[in-house]
């Protein structure tokens, strides 16, 4: 096996891994603030890509303007979802929450199919398609965009969660919602915030990956599940360990698909998911804590 080939697989794995990481952090943020696994997370990834397409084609906006519009539109959907489905739930048991977020994701996907049809759509890349050679491998400018934007988002996240009042309040909710409420934090607002942040992050992930993989109404399912795998590997943290989880998953998947069999590419992620859940439910880097078992 040539080194060049492995390098190529690793590089492309890292870029998909970055996407998984972004989606995974979105999962973790909502989970930490509310205890909900939002099965609809992947749909925001799909919405990000498709809203960008609409802004470009129907509103004739330039790309730099289309992207913020798409993020805003997807975030609005996220807010509506929290407001209309999650908050009014009368019996918020884990099973009901699983079912309602699944129902919501099917509904969003179905409506997207109604709006954008069942075709796969191409989204133009941010800065051309001239390949760049690195060692014996080549990458596209879009890969660099993915790395850069992921890094920026992770940095912004860090600043938000550790250096702003509302970020600290959100962390307080994740430690103990009741105690957070007692010291005057509006827990409901924090829940709404967590949905806003994670749907915006999902949309960004969808926008930056769309030029590479194309987009369609049903891309959210798989991407969402892979993002969840990343979050599980990272122990549902909204920081570095989920990023590492995402990158690890991306690289393993890409190497597995390249060296073993491309048909089983998706199975790799789920086998990892099961192994982690069975043997290290606290995540690959977490301290033993049996809360999730």
């Amino acid at each position: 096996m040539q080194f060049d080939q492995i390098l190529q697989y690793t590089l492309s794995g890292l870029s998909t891994g970055a996407i998984y990481a972004l989606i995974g952090i979105g999962f973790s943020i909502i989970y930490n603030a509310t205890g909900i696994i939002n099965f609809a997370q992947g749909e925001f990834v799909m919405l990000g890509g498709l809203f960008t397409l609409s802004c470009l084609e129907f509103l004739k906006l330039p790309l730099w303007a289309a992207i913020p519009c798409a993020i805003a539109a997807s975030t609005l959907v996220g807010m509506l979802f929290e407001r209309l489905a999650i908050r009014p739930l009368r019996q918020p048991t884990p099973i009901n929450l699983v079912i309602i977020t699944i129902g919501g994701s099917i509904l969003i996907r179905g409506l997207a199919m109604l709006v954008w049809g069942k075709d796969t759509h191409a989204v133009p890349s941010f800065s051309g398609d001239t390949p760049i050679a690195i060692g014996g491998a080549t990458i596209l400018p879009q890969h660099l965009w993915i790395f850069a934007i992921t890094l920026i988002i992770i940095a912004v996240n860090k600043v938000y969660f550790y250096h702003t009042i509302s970020g600290k309040a959100m962390r307080a909710c994740s430690y103990n919602r009741r105690a957070a409420g007692l010291v005057g934090i509006d827990v409901r607002r924090m829940v709404m915030f967590s949905f806003i942040i994670s749907s915006a992050m999902g949309a960004v992930a969808g926008i930056i990956i769309a030029p590479l993989t194309m987009t369609a109404y049903d891309v959210g399912v798989m991407l969402g599940l892979k993002g969840f795998c990343a979050a599980i590997i990272g122990g549902m943290s909204s920081g570095l360990s989920t990023v590492i989880g995402g990158l690890l998953l991306g690289v393993l998947e890409s190497l597995g698909a390249g060296l073993i069999s491309s048909g089983y590419k998706d199975a790799i992620a789920f086998i990892i998911l099961l192994l982690i859940l069975f043997f290290r439910p606290q995540g690959l880097f977490g301290k033993a804590d049996s809360e999730r078992v």
């Binding site: 989970y31 909900i36 696994i37 099965f39 489905a85 009014p88 739930l89 009368r90 019996q91 884990p94 099973i95 009901n96 929450l97 699983v98 079912i99 309602i100 699944i102 129902g103 919501g104 994701s105 099917i106 509904l107 969003i108 996907r109 179905g110 409506l111 199919m113 109604l114 069942k118 399912v221 599940l225 969840f228 599980i232 069999s261 048909g263 089983y264 998706d266 199975a267 789920f270 086998i271 998911l273 099961l274 859940l277 069975f278 439910p281 999730r292 078992v293």
Partner: protein
């Protein structure tokens, strides 16, 4: 006004009567739809009822979610299909063998999987279902891959070959009624009470001497066996199977049936299965947009009728009657 408390045997008599009435209706149904296209749909209602009951035993009684049940359904269908085509086994022998294999597999997987709770259990079973789906697609030397497996023989009893919709209707519904009766008995037995105890509080159940962990695994295996049986029957009535039937979407559809019908109610599972199987027939013009209806139904049911149709409709009815009475008094 308090109703007099019924004794246990009275309740059992009432349940038996209800079941006898239901069976009679089921057996007479072909008389009304003789030979029509609807017969074919009703065969599917039977298969889906079995599957919904299987999931309901796990979700409604034991309180453990599974988003991978389509995988066990598919495994039963493929095992039956492969044994009867590639190895020319008798379908009557293939069915129990498939059920046994699926049951053992589920029993073994059940230990690590059912250790997980809530969202984590949902994700793990979902992952399992997707892995099964990928295996159906990728092991094409056995399963025929995405293009499917054809030429699966029909079941045969003496000189009767189950190859028409009407014959299949009686075959499938015979088994479905047996599964219903078995499940209702199970629910009212000691095991059923132990399951409900685990549902309400696993710790309390364990304190009272219920081996919660083992019980959950056993019911998971039983549920998988019923799915496998339904899968085998599906394979032998359709004579053709392909992976798309057994994907993630179908697991969700099963979940929708159970939730819509009512968690922890066997007749509810039938209601949910019947509604969701007949609905696409009425939405035929709507193409693939029926997915929106599923999603909407799930959300609306969980929000406004968490007890499902079997409890929600009587409650709604009582509310209306009460309101009428009040407005009558005023």
């Amino acid at each position: 006004m308090a109703k007099p408390i019924r004794s246990g045997s009275d309740l059992m008599k009432r349940n038996l009567l209800l079941f006898a009435g239901f069976s009679l209706l089921v057996m007479l149904a072909p008389q009304f739809f003789r030979g029509g296209y609807l017969m074919n749909v009703l065969v599917f209602v039977g298969i889906n009822t079995m599957l919904a009951i299987a999931l309901n035993l796990l979700l409604g009684y034991a309180g453990q979610i599974s988003l991978g049940h389509a995988g066990f359904f598919g495994l039963g269908a493929y095992l039956s299909g492969i044994m009867t085509t590639t190895f020319s086994m008798n379908p009557w022998e293939a069915m129990p063998v498939a059920a046994l294999v699926v049951g053992c597999l589920a029993y073994l997987i059940g230990f690590p999987v059912l250790k997980l709770k809530g969202h984590y259990l949902a994700m793990a079973t979902l992952g399992l279902g997707i892995i099964f789906f990928i295996i159906f697609n990728e092991t094409y030397e056995w399963t025929g891959g995405p293009s499917g497996l054809s030429g699966i023989p029909n079941l045969q009893l003496g000189s009767i070959v189950f190859d028409t919709d009407v014959k299949n209707y009686y075959l499938i519904w015979g088994v479905t009624l047996a599964v219903m009766l078995f499940s209702m008995n199970l629910a009212q037995s000691r095991v059923g009470r132990a399951l409900r105890a685990v549902h309400d509080s696993e710790i309390a159940a364990q304190v009272l001497g219920v081996n919660a962990r083992h019980l959950k695994v056993q019911i998971f295996a039983l549920s998988a066996i019923i799915c496998s049986l339904a899968g085998s029957l599906y394979a032998h009535t359709m004579t053709f199977i392909s992976p798309t039937t057994f994907g993630f979407n179908f697991s969700i559809e099963l979940l929708t049936m159970v939730v819509i019908g009512g968690l922890g109610s066997i007749y509810g599972s039938f209601l949910g299965a019947a509604l969701l199987t007949l609905l696409p027939e009425f939405l035929r013009g709507a193409n693939d947009y029926d997915i929106i209806v599923y999603g909407g139904l799930l959300v609306i049911m969980v929000m406004y009728m968490p007890g499902g149709l079997v409890r929600g409709i009587p409650a709604l009815f009582r509310k209306i009657v009460k309101r009428e009475a009040e407005s009558g008094n005023a």
